[in-house]
Amino acid sequence: MDPNIPRTTPRKSATFDDYTLSEIRRAATTGIYDIRGAGAKRKLPHFDDLLFLGASISRYPLEGYREKCGTNVVLGTRFAKKPVELKIPITIAGMSFGSLSAQAKEALGRGASAAGTSTTTGDGGMTPEERGQSKMLVYQYLPSRYGMNPDDLRKADAIEVVVGQGAKPGGGGMLLGQKISDRVAQMRCLPKGIDQRSACRHPDWTGPDDLEIKIHELREITAWEKPIYVKVGGARPYYDTALAVKSGADVVVVDGMQGGTAATQEVFIEHVGMPTLACIRPAVKALQELGMHRKVQLIVSGGIRNGADVAKALALGADAVSIGTAALVALGDQDPHLEDEYQKLGTTAGAYDDWHEGRDPAGITTQDPELAKRLDPVKAGRRLSNYLKVMTLEAQTIARANGKSHVHNLEPEDLVALTVEAAAMAQVPLAGTSWIPGKGGY
């Protein structure tokens, strides 16, 4: 080599980047797809790509704190005799006992109840801890029917028929052997320590015509009292919302691909489904065409992090939002003070996603009694209620700035987009123009 000839700097492939190479080596070594928790991690068009316009001369703002800005939401006004009344438009999404420790479930119940909202069970049944601590509890009805029983169904404040979730629309649940403890095994009627793979379709119905009959049965068993939600992964939100309404749902829950999961194939999380931002308008359109917007309520989830996200989702037409990942962080997940322990697990605070392995140093996504003990349900619950209150205040701040006396009066017209992608997905104009891609204009 002639040292006088300049060399180009070593260049790594954008296509075969470090992560890709590490995944190829991992697959070649293990022979199994990568499984992890959480939702899509890739960069996606999201609520950050939208801005509110606020008010000035043409529109008059409301005084902060003094002039009222309502945040309450009533879910299940269509058929249920006892709708769910929430003080804030933010609910806690379904997360199972099994994927989470009993302490974490209790903390979610405490936090949500203190903030005036509901929590949701998950794929594994209802625990006394969460029923006890949740003023309002939504009972999930899933393909696996783990822990499903009519007593708990009747104890619930609402029933959520889960057809899919954003992290894996079309996929079934998964809970690996490490987390099938004695109690989890007993609740799910499974041997301890086995890999539990849930079905992707319900065992006794397929398609909207059957769903209508299934919803009717659930109503019969619960005396037509409880709101029935239908939760779908954000895959084909226009059709799925329309069909959920036609099947008799009181509430439709649409979960975008940033929505988390306890454990699923990485390829599923990152490559199937649509960004939350892209799901809302098609779902709202379906409701509007059926004359059901605000009559059948729409809950949107998947990557909701702050009051701005809440306000933006509501402005696009949602009635409420759900949080999962953000709630776990509020409890104490990914906390930098645990960095040493995350390092030992080969990861770092903020990137920990091996939730299926059950070794969560924060004591949240685990069934290890020693780790689970680290989470104080009272303190963690308090953190969650603080966080929910901040989000609500933030959403109110934005709503007042746009002249709204209720957060539900936010409209798409209060928004502009920063990127062409977000403008197209949210169907709001690119900032400073009247251009909505795909809708004409200039």
Binding site: M148, N149, P150, P191, P203, D204, K214, I221
Partner: protein
């Protein structure tokens, strides 16, 4: 004996009547007439009632019942006795798909044939079928017993966990991870008890037992073809 006419009163009124009975009621015997294939008949019962349905029922008859006895003098639609907790559901005719799906306990007897997915995801229920069962029966069956006095369709016991399957006739094919297993005395005793409960005269010794090979319990790349 109280009589209810479903054609006249509708399903909701009839279910409400049965659900509203106090725990210590003396009105334990009920007859439902004119079911007309309607859905969700006598579901969600919670107490020791005895309900006889005269005619064919639609989907989810007896679903999620506890302690009650429901006898259907006719055929049953999809998901009969789904998620049954305890008690008895007895179908004198045939049953459609997913009979006894996810049942936790109690006994489901089907005198005739059951269709596909009989006992899917069963979690402790006992099911006795006098005739044959369709394809994918006992799919992901977790716990409990499925007794088939006739034949079984394709993929019996696919991805089965710990449920026990007893078949007297031919099995079209076994599903992934389902194998024939030795019939020991404890199994013969169990089977005799179930046949007697279903008032069947079949000889337990004429049955074969099937269950999980437990090879899919924890992922192994060499078994990936079975997924």
């Amino acid at each position: 004996m109280n009589e209810l006419d479903l054609k006249k009163d509708g399903v909701t009124a009839i279910n409400h009547r049965l659900h509203a009975l106090p725990e210590n009621t003396n009105e334990r015997h009920w007859v439902i007439r004119n079911p007309m294939g309607q859905h969700a008949i006598a579901c969600g019962l919670d107490g020791p009632l005895h309900v006889e349905v005269h005619g064919h029922v639609g989907f989810y008859c007896g679903g999620m019942n506890k302690d009650a006895e429901v006898i259907v003098h006719g055929h049953a639609g999809v998901g009969v006795a789904e998620n049954l907790m305890s008690g008895l559901v007895w179908i004198k005719g045939n049953a459609s798909e997913s009979a006894g799906a996810t049942g936790n306990g109690g006994l489901l007897v089907i005198d005739g044939d059951a269709s596909s997915r009989c006992g899917i995801s069963m979690k402790g229920i006992d099911i006795v079928v006098g005739g044959s069962v369709g394809h994918m029966s006992a799919f992901m069956a977790q716990r409990g017993n499925l007794v088939v006095c006739g034949d079984a369709g394709d993929a019996l016991g696919d991805s089965i966990y710990e449920a026990r399957l007893y078949v007297k006739g031919k099995v079209a094919s076994l599903g992934a991870d389902c194998i024939e297993k030795e019939m020991r005395d404890e199994h013969l005793a169990d089977l005799s008890r179930l046949l007697a409960a279903a008032k069947r005269k079949d000889n337990p010794k004429d049955f074969r037992r099937y269950g999980s090979a437990r090879k899919l319990y924890n992922f192994n790349v060499d078994h990936a073809d079975a997924y």
